[in-house]
Symmetry: C2
Subunit: 352 residues, 2 copies
DNA sequence: CATGTATATGTTAACGCTAACAGATTTGCC
DNA sequence: GGCAAATCTGTTAGCGTTAACATATACATG
């Protein structure tokens, strides 16, 4: 047995015409039945559905989209799929879009602006109903394309800047400030920073900027910093932490701020393995609030970037604008990241 | 400033005709230039490209696909995005497709067969050039659709069964057997199993079957088992491990086999936290070979499911068949998962 | 210079579907 | 019974692009 369940294993793909002939009504009526649009008598409806099922007909959305100039796709353009943050955003987006006719299509840029431009071009060439794209920083060409596309654009994850149209996210600068303030308030003074070597991760950069800004106001500065790229983040967190603690033995650090929870977790495990008192001797904090932290021996301090919520809000904006095309647009939603102190960011015991 | 860089912020979307008029050649020639197809003089080529850029024209793939009946999309249908295994498969797929005209489109089923059927129907209605779908188990309707689609279908992750067309993956039954054998060879006897409560995760089921089969041959059986659903896998791994060890104190277990590395890691952390000697007092093993295991205090024994490689091989099959449509098909590639003993599956010291 | 070959451009007719409108049939109601 | 309204079905003409073929121009070659 090679293929098909029908009688003729025909090479020619099925069209509305086939269903129309099989059920004895016009193509238009078949189209109406298959889309639940307009009035069709119950008799013909079931006749048509029966014929369609029997033939194994699957409508051709390409043709449908062209004819109706409605393409129910939402382009979602994100830098990466592998760090757990964007899958969660996707979850939020799906939660909303699953209740609509809209379907997300994902493109990944690997944090490369020129790749983002290409992906965007590819996506727009499908004439989607909307675009959800990570970040506010894009090439001029990309911005121009989005501006001219005539569809709702939602830039997500970040609100520190000028969006093209709408934006949903948190202020990373503010997140950095908030964390710095909490660390200072807890009495830590010699602070190390560990992050990714990514000049193009603008959000990490903004957090860093906000962070140092507040330190500066308190007369402090980053005592040491270290950056990595590639490899297992957990293992890198370990290595970097070890290296940093080693080289600061004379004047030891009392806090380590990690640019993401994964390396933070690595650092935490390193400290515990080596009998370092956390948070007494040294405090730790990451960023993101990824769920797996719950299973760690001690809960890492972190800041939740509201990822699911960002996805939901972005999708909602698109859905609303698709339903009501002449709504205003330009909506900006700034979510407030919550700081979770966990077990690793606690006021040091005052000397008695 | 509201939108667009062009002169007329026209409402009507741009078409080939606009570029054609702007550059003074026929639509056909514009089409040829934009697709690099056929001979076009250097003069007109640049004239057209110039006009297209100036207008900000983006080709309409919907119309192009309909006219050429070539849709360069590959439908990728997977159960989940959130467990790190499918993102890696996606990486493999992208590695190959990035060198072709093909573009992946992802659909997520959440392990629900009826959802898989819907997603498949949606995908097929875009008339993709091929389908990559996880698993060999599908509803009858889904199988029929794929059989009748007339495009290459690659079922991935599993080769224990009858594929519709091609298949790439590992034998999970064999993986389970292999792990069981290694555990037995190492001298462990009282074995507990910890997994997900998912009757629809056929691959986990097959591993379990293979596992118990070999135990049976050695006159052993699973001493205890526990299943979870939802929540942070790492935390669940801890909890389940604790529960299981607690209730088997009289006749203690000496090995725990986890259905995935995440809960395995949780179990490992639990054991280490509680001063349990791993692998002397108790051995541990997971499944998958996820990269982050590298950062754990001790390396968990696991079995690599060759995820990137599976993605690459599947994409290659599709790419080959798209290039050469009358190639045979029906290819089946069984990869051999490698068993990594790590630090948690070691022959117990023989009593002196 | 006629003729063939390569190069460059244009013309026509789909691709499979749906919007918009036009008929046809039934129903309600005075 | 007659006429409007409601219900159902069909016809026509694209949607924006490309395949296939037709035409035009340049460039050799004997």
């Amino acid at each position: 047995m090679s293929q098909g369940s029908g009688k003729t294993p025909s090479k020619r793909p099925l069209t509305l015409r086939d269903v129309s002939e099989a059920s004895g009504v016009s193509e238009m009526t078949v189209s109406r039945v298959l889309r639940n649009r307009g009035d069709v008598s119950e008799a013909t409806r079931s006749k048509v559905l029966e014929a369609a099922r029997a033939l194994g007909y699957v409508p051709n959305k390409i043709a449908g989209a062209l004819a109706s100039s409605r393409v129910n796709l939402v382009a979602v353009i994100i830098p990466s799929m592998s760090n757990m943050v964007f899958p969660e955003v996707m979850t939020g987006i799906s939660q909303i879009l699953d209740d609509t006719e809209l379907q997300p299509v994902v493109g990944v840029t690997n944090y490369k602006p020129e790749r983002e431009e290409t992906v965007l071009y590819q996506m727009l060439s499908w004439r989607p109903s909307g675009v959800i794209i990570a970040g506010l920083e894009h090439t001029e060409a990309a911005k121009a394309m989005m501006g001219a596309a005539g569809i709702p654009i939602v830039e997500i994850m970040d609100t520190d800047g000028e969006p093209i149209d709408s934006a949903v996210g948190i202020s990373h600068r503010r997140a950095g400030r908030k964390m710095a303030q909490a660390i200072i308030d807890a009495g830590y003074k010699r602070i190390g920073f560990l992050g990714t070597k990514m000049p193009l991760d603008h959000r990490a950069r903004k957090r860093f900027e906000g962070f140092t800004e507040i330190l500066a106001k308190a007369g402090l500065e980053i005592a040491d910093s270290e950056f990595y790229s590639g490899g297992s983040a957990l293992a890198k967190g370990r290595e970097m932490t070890e290296a940093m603690l080693q080289r600061n033995q004379e004047e030891p650090l009392d806090f380590l701020y990690y640019s993401n929870d994964m390396i933070g977790a690595g650092g935490l495990l390193y400290c515990l393995d080596n009998g370092i008192d956390v948070p007494g001797e040294i405090g730790l904090a990451g960023f993101n609030g990824i769920e797996f932290l719950d299973g760690l021996p001690r809960k890492l301090a972190t800041m939740d970037a509201c990822r699911v919520e960002v996805g939901r809000a972005a999708a909602e904006i698109i859905a609303k604008r698709v339903e009501n095309p002449d709504a205003p647009g330009g909506e900006i939603i700034t979510l407030e990241p919550s700081l979770e102190f966990g077990d690793t960011l606690k006021r040091k015991k005052k000397p008695l």
